[in-house]
Amino acid sequence: MGNYEPKIVAFVCNWCSYAGADKAGMLKLNYSTDVKLIRMMCSGRVDPQFVLDAFRKGADGVMILGCHPGDCHYRSGNLKAMRRFNLLKKMMSQFGIDGRRVKIDWIAAGEAERFQKVANEMAETVENLGQLHLRGYVESEVQ
């Protein structure tokens, strides 16, 4: 465990949060390398299965980052994401996963500092929680 580096997958929407992360880059705002991004067109595209899949494949934390409510590029995809997320979060404990390992948040294209903050806070939270050991997890099934 000693050298534990958490693995955090962030599903980010193309228009707000991915752009916010890009801006964090432009401003050279360092953040934890534990946080790695997967670009979606909209946070509404995030199937709860993606979150579960990430945990199954060894993620210690998962974030869904979208546009602020009211600012969705596709009108309301982020709100759909939020509704699904609330249900998902309730179910996490049934899978033996601490609810703090999943997070949904909104980051606008200009909110570079906020992106940095959210990424670092998540990294810290997950680091404190320690590595995730899923019961019934069979590594050989995972490619």
């Binding site: 193309n14 953040y31 997967i38 979606m40 909209c42 199937d47 596709y74 995809g77």
Partner: protein, 650 residues
């Protein structure tokens, strides 16, 4: 798992002229990639987006003919298209180019060089897993319909129509009221230049009437809109006028009609008959019978108009008509509504005689108004003093929370109009803020001060009390001594036009929190809406003056006609969703989550179907489909699962 057919992968590592290579040792990454054995070609370039770099990229593609291309460089938002275009030229479908963002997301945000390498490798691995599952994206296009529908026949709609017609485009104006003109015709003069509004409008109305490119449909409303940018179908309900087109508006029938009603055009201050036009010289000139109030329709007891009409134009049998228009774009120019003040007891509106709103005062002062332009009190005497209350019903929670920005100049105009007729009249403008943006507006304000209007500052407009006292009106409030006047004008703001919410729902476009139509982009596309091909102009886009109204109209219509060139094809979104009809259970969940009404239900086959021309590819339906029937092109479940795995096992 690697598909047999898609084996060959090229990886391009861009140094971004030290922006990447200073932090990430690309040689080390290249070694790592080589060792993997599943990347056939590994190229390093110092600046791949430079002319030299692009040439290098193109030559490598031509030589190695890869199936999968990974460009580990900057954000896809910067150069994905650059490299996709080159790939397309080399005969490789754009979907097979995948960027790994090792600049914004790695080199620029990571100090530890070892960690930077590990993260870069993870991103490249994820990109590789994803791109191997990419399927070709097909370009779709369709020929556009170049006709344009303009909803609202006020000054914005009229100017937009004339502009489109100048370019030779066919337009339809659908106007809810019985004739064109909107609200500008209810004002006599427009400040600060005091231009004559009816004189401004009259020639434009005749131009519209005589323009073969413009079809005017009045007394009509849009009832439904289907379709998408370049190909909308709008359903219009045209209410019967009961007077046919042979009517020239001679008004002979008005005299004989026995029914007298409050006139909406005069805001209830004057009267009209049950057969009427809004004003002389309206377009169309044809009168209308108010069916609900006409004695012929009520009890068949009158046909005085039939006898009086020299042209035999009355037609009691006329029916409402449903019209379908096929258009490429829609311009919303539905105007605004006057702000309400009757909910404020303290303002005395509707209770105290001679307390008017600014729009009502405009009617009184207009030569086409109820008193033929004579400013007078209810008792027919001329007022010797007038108080104008600024921001009445505005900037407060119970009324309009915002500043409409154009009422101040209208309020300042009251003094000018009053003094023209009653030179000794005293005019007091009670205000807290004053908005006179621009040199001409400010000069107009100064002129009013010089000519005698007293601008009195009230420290809190919510304390204004208006009461009747000794046959006069007493205006009191914090920060000034009470004033006794003969007439009060409440300067009201602008609210969204009636029916705005319904129209927004019908068109599937967004509204602002203030209730006006929301611009696609406040700065760059202020006259576009959240839906492609639907535009906004005039006050539909928010309170504004006549000049801005017309500017918005021309901007919107210019944008529309520049895109809707007859014969031109429009490219449709490639990354749409599709629904596998074999897997679809017909639960319609996708239909409820689609923000664009892009999914329709096929009753016959019991499946949902995506209209690809409307779909924008957000993928929300895909995430919600319980049977896995919906698929997001280029963002398939398989691709995302592969990317997740690639990221975690990098």
């Amino acid at each position: 798992m690697m598909s047999e057919a898609r084996r060959k992968t090229s990886l391009f590592l861009c140094g971004c002229s030290t922006h990447i290579s200073d932090t990430i040792d690309l040689k080390a990454v290249s070694e790592w990639a080589k060792k993997r054995g599943d990347i056939n070609v590994i190229e390093i370039h110092n600046l791949l987006c430079s002319p030299d770099g692009k040439k290098f990229f193109a030559e490598s593609l031509a030589k190695n003919k890869p199936d999968n291309i990974i460009v580990a460089a900057c954000s896809p938002k910067m150069h994905e298209k650059t490299f996709q275009d080159i790939a397309e030229e080399a005969g490789i479908n754009m979907s097979h180019v995948q960027m790994a963002n090792i600049r914004e997301h790695v080199s620029w945000v990571t100090k530890d060089k070892e960690k930077a390498i590990v993260k870069a490798e993870a991103l490249i691995n994820a990109s590789l897993k994803r791109v191997m599952l990419a399927e070709d994206l097909e370009k779709h296009s369709m020929e556009i319909v170049s006709e344009i529908l303009i909803i609202g026949g006020g000054i914005a709609g009229i100017e937009a129509a004339l502009t489109a017609s100048t370019a030779g485009r066919k337009v339809y104006i659908v106007e809810k009221n019985i004739s064109l003109g909107g609200t500008i015709i209810q004002t006599e003069e427009i400040a600060p230049n005091m231009e004559c509004s009816p004189c401004l409008l009259a020639p434009r109305l005749s131009e519209v009437r005589d323009d073969p490119n413009i079809t005017v449909i009045t007394n009509a409303e849009v009832t439904d809109v289907l379709g998408f940018y370049g190909n909308f179908v709008a359903k219009i309900r045209k209410r019967a006028r009961y007077v046919d087109d042979s009517c020239i508006g001679c008004e002979a029938c008005f005299e004989v009609c026995p029914v007298t009603l409050d006139s909406e055009f005069h805001l209830g201050l004057g009267t009209r008959k049950a057969i009427y036009t809004l004003f002389s010289g309206s377009v169309p000139a044809v009168a209308v019978i108010d069916k609900g109030n006409c004695k012929h329709f009520i009890d068949n007891s009158c046909d005085a108009c039939v006898a009086a009409c020299p042209f035999g134009s009355i037609n009691f049998d006329e029916k409402d008509e449903d019209i379908e228009l096929n258009v490429g774009s829609i311009l919303i120019a539905t105007g605004y509504n006057n702000g309400e003040v009757s909910q404020f007891d303290r303002l005395g509106y509707g209770k105290i005689e001679n307390v008017y709103t600014l729009p009502e005062f405009e009617r009184i002062a207009s030569s086409n108004g109820p008193s033929n332009g004579e400013i007078k009190l209810k008792n027919d005497k001329k007022p010797s003093s007038v108080a104008v209350v600024h921001c009445a019903g505005s900037l407060c929670d119970e009324g309009i929370p915002y500043c409409s920005g154009v009422c101040c100049i209208g309020a300042a105009k009251v003094g000018e109009l009053v003094r023209k007729q009653i030179p000794d009249a005293k005019v007091f403008n009670i205000h807290n803020d004053l908005v006179f943006a621009g040199p001409k507006e400010n000069a107009f304000f100064k002129k009013q001060v010089e000519e005698g209007t007293q601008f009195i500052k009230c420290s809190d407009l919510e304390t204004i009390e208006i009461r009747g006292k000794d046959g006069k009106i007493l205006v009191e409030g914090d920060g000034f001594s009470p004033i006794k006047v003969d007439m009060v004008v409440l300067s009201t703001g602008m609210t969204p036009a009636p029916g705005t919410v319904e129209l927004a729902e019908m068109l599937n476009v967004d509204l602002e929190n203030d209730g006006f139509f929301k611009a696609d982009h406040e700065l760059l596309h202020a006259t576009g809406t959240s839906l492609d091909g639907v535009y906004i102009a005039g006050c539909a886009a928010g309170p504004c003056n006549v000049a801005t109204s017309v500017t918005r109209a021309k901007s919107a219509i210019g944008d529309a006609i520049s895109k809707l060139v007859p014969g031109r094809e429009i490219e449709l979104e490639m990354m749409t969703a599709i629904i596998d009809e074999e897997k679809c259970g017909g639960c319609k969940l996708c239909i409820t989550v689609c923000p664009y009404k892009a999914i329709i239900y096929n009753e016959k086959e019991n499946v949902s179907e995506v209209t690809e021309a409307i779909c924008r590819g957000c993928g929300t339906c895909v995430a919600s489909c319980p049977s896995g029937a919906a698929k997001a092109k280029h963002f398939t479940d398989e691709q995302i699962y592969a990317e997740i795995g690639g990221l975690l096992y990098g």
